[in-house]
Amino acid sequence: MTSTDQQPFLSVRDLKVHFSTEDGIVKAVDGLSFDLAKGQTLGIVGESGSGKSVTNLTILGLHDRDRTAIDGEILLDGKELLTATERELAQLRGNKMSMIFQDALASLSPYHTVGKQISEVYRKHTGASKKESRERAIEMLKRVGIPQPEVRVDDYPHLFSGGMRQRAMIAMALVCDPELLIADEPTTALDVTVQAQIMDLLKDLQQEFGTAIVFITHDLGVIADIADDVLVMYGGRCVERGTKKEVLTDPQHPYTLGLLSSMPSLEGPVDVPLMPIPGSPPSLLNPPSGCRFHPRCAFAEKVAGGRCSSESPVLEVVDGRGSACHLTTAQRQELFADLAAVAQHN
C-alpha cells in the first residue's frame, strides 16, 4: 500500500528553510516535497545536518521566525501552515499534530509532574475540567503501558526510567488524538530492548487511532521495522524515495546504497571490512555544487562531462518512487551489482 492510494493528509511542496547565522546562510532544507496519507508512516532517513529535523520543526512552526527564511508550502488537511498565524498554529499543535523528541528527559519539563504535563494539553485543547484532564492523563499513561498510572501520574519525569519517559512523552503527544505525529529519533537514546517496546507501542497506537506518522531516524533498521514509505535526505535535499521495500532492497541512489553497505549486521560474513562512505556529511553553510553527494560518491566519475559537480540532479518521482542521481538506469544496474551483493547480506 502506498500513499498515492489516498488523498494526502500532509503535503509538503518544495520546502526551503534557510537560516541566517553569523557565518552566513545555512540552507538546512533546500527544495523538499513529500505527501503522507492518514494512517501511514513516512520514514525520513538522514545523518546529522541532512535537514531532517529542521523540516519537522518547520511543519509545527517551531523554527526561529526571526532568523529563518522559508519558501514553499506545507498543507495539513488542506490548510496552509506556513502562512498561518501563531495563534492558529497553537490551536493545531498538540491537538491535530504533535511531536515526540529524541531526548525525553530533556524534553519533559523537570518542574512539573508527568500528569500535569499531559493533562494541560488536554485542558488547553478540549476545555475539559481539571479533574477530567487528570483522569484522561491517567488513562493515557495506562494506554502507553505505564504500570500503576494512578500513582505515577503525580511523579516528576526524573523518577521515570528512560523507556517510561518516552512512553509518557508519547502519552502527552497523543492525548488529543492527533492526526499527525512527528517522531524525531524517538528511540535513538534508548536501549535496543526498550526501543523494540516503544516501536511496538507506536505501531499499536497507530493502528488504533489511524495517526499519520513522520518518523525521523538515522537507523535503517528502525525504518525497516516501522515505515511504509521512505525518504532519504542528504544535505538538505531528498535523494531517494519509495516504499520501504523498494528503498531497502533496490536502492537507486549511491548514498542509500552506501548507507546500507556500511551497516554491520547480525548475519552475513564478518571477516570482510565494512564499506564505509568516505568523507563526511557536507556543511550546509557552503554545500558542494551540483549533486551534494558527489564529493563522497564512488560513481561520480562515471557520469560524463562532470555533471555531478556542476548540475543538480532532479528528483523525478513516478508513483512515489524516484531518486536524484545522474547515473542512468543501465549504469546503475552495472555499478551497483557488487555493492548490492554486500548490502544484500545486511
Binding site: S98, S109, P110, Y111, K124
Partner: protein, 326 residues
C-alpha cells in the same frame, strides 16, 4: 525537609562557632591593648590590672572565649560596668553599652535598607531582564543590556552624592535621607529611605537584569520549552511557567547571598547618607578599635550569610523537584 533543616542548622552553628573563634583570636591577639587605651595617661600598673579585670581580659584567650560564649546563653557580669543580659555578645568599652543592645538598635535600619532595596532591584532588575530575553536582539534588548552594563559600572559613592545633590538639594523631589522606624510613621519611614533604596539598587538592578536575561535566554533554548510550545501552549504561558521556572534557581541563589551580605551592613550607602546602620557601626568600631563590637558585627554578618544560604538551598528544592534535601 525537617531533616535538612536540622542538619543544616547544626552545620550553621558549627560554622558560627568557628567564625567567632577565629575572629576572637585575631582581635584579641593583635597588639593593641584596650585596657591601655582606656587607662589614659596617668596609668599605674594597679589601675591597668583593675581595668583588665573590669573588661574581662585578664584571662588567657581560650578562657576569655569561653566566657564570651557562655555570656551569649546566660549573660555576664562585668565588674566595672554592671550586668550584661543574655544574649550577651560582650560589652563595648567605647560606647559603654552591651554590644547586643547596640546592634539591635541599628538593625532595623539596616533591615529596612536591605529589604527595601531588594524589592526595587528584584522588580526592576528581573523585570528588565525578562523583557530583554523576550525581545532578544531587538532594540529593547540592546538598550537594556547597555544600560545594565553602565549601571553595574557605577559606584555608590558617586551616584549617591550626585543623586543627593540633584534630587534632594537642587530639585527637592526626594526627602533628605533619614530613618524613622516603620512602626512610628510608615510614610516618613518610606520617604526617608527612598533615596538610599534607589541608589543602593542601581548596581544590583543592573546585575539582576543581566543575570535574568542570560538565564532566560538559556532556558528558552531548552528542549522542554520547545516541547511546551509543540503542545500548543501560548508563548506567555511557556515563558512564565516553563522558562522562568528554570531561570529562577540561579537568581534565587545570588539573591540569597546578596541579601545576607546587605544585612551585614551597606557600609558605603550608610556612610554616604549618614544613616546609623550596622555598616556604619562596623566602620566606627574599626576606627575606635572597639573589638567587642566588631566581633559582634562580624558574627551577625556571618549568621546572616549562613542563614540565607540555608534559605537558598531550601528555596532551590522548592523550585526544582529534582533536588532532594536530606
Amino acid at each position: 525537609m525537617f531533616r535538612f533543616l536540622v542538619r543544616r542548622t547544626i552545620g550553621a552553628l558549627v560554622i558560627l562557632l568557628i567564625v567567632s573563634a577565629i575572629t576572637f583570636w585575631l582581635f584579641y591577639a593583635v597588639p593593641r591593648d584596650p585596657a591601655m587605651m582606656s587607662c589614659g595617661k596617668n596609668c599605674t600598673p594597679a589601675s591597668l590590672a583593675q581595668i583588665r579585670h573590669n573588661l574581662g581580659i585578664d584571662h588567657p584567650i581560650p578562657v576569655q572565649y569561653w566566657y564570651w560564649l557562655k555570656g551569649i546563653f546566660v549573660g555576664r557580669e562585668y565588674s566595672g560596668f554592671g550586668h550584661c543580659n543574655a544574649p550577651c555578645l560582650g560589652y563595648s568599652f567605647a560606647n559603654n553599652e552591651p554590644v547586643f543592645g547596640t546592634i539591635m538598635d541599628r538593625l532595623p535600619l539596616t533591615l529596612s535598607l536591605a529589604f527595601g532595596s531588594a524589592v526595587i532591584f528584584l522588580i526592576f532588575g528581573v523585570g528588565t531582564g525578562m523583557i530583554a530575553a523576550l525581545k532578544q536582539g531587538k532594540f529593547l534588548d540592546k538598550f537594556a543590556t547597555s544600560a545594565s552594563l553602565l549601571g553595574s559600572s557605577l559606584q555608590i559613592y558617586f551616584v549617591g552624592y550626585i543623586a543627593l545633590y540633584f534630587l534632594t538639594f537642587k530639585l527637592g523631589i526626594l526627602d533628605q535621607p533619614s530613618y524613622t522606624p516603620l512602626t512610628d510613621n510608615p510614610v516618613q519611614w518610606f520617604s526617608g529611605l527612598l533615596l538610599p533604596w534607589i541608589v543602593l539598587s542601581i548596581i544590583f538592578t543592573a546585575n539582576y537584569t543581566r543575570m535574568a536575561r542570560s538565564q532566560l535566554v538559556e532556558q528558552l533554548s531548552e528542549d522542554y520549552v520547545r516541547t511546551a510550545r509543540a503542545k500548543g501552549l501560548s508563548r506567555a504561558n511557556v515563558f512564565l511557567r516553563f522558562a522562568w521556572r528554570g531561570a529562577m534557581g540561579p537568581i534565587v541563589t545570588v539573591f540569597g547571598i546578596d541579601l545576607g551580605t546587605l544585612i551585614g551592613g551597606a557600609i558605603i550607602t550608610e556612610q554616604v547618607f549618614s544613616l546609623q546602620g550596622i555598616g556604619r557601626l562596623s566602620v566606627i568600631s574599626v576606627i575606635q578599635s572597639d573589638l567587642p563590637m566588631l566581633l559582634g558585627v562580624t558574627v551577625l554578618s556571618a549568621a546572616a550569610i549562613v542563614f540565607f544560604n540555608i534559605f537558598v538551598d531550601a528555596a532551590y528544592a522548592f523550585i526544582d523537584p529534582r533536588i532532594r534535601l536530606a
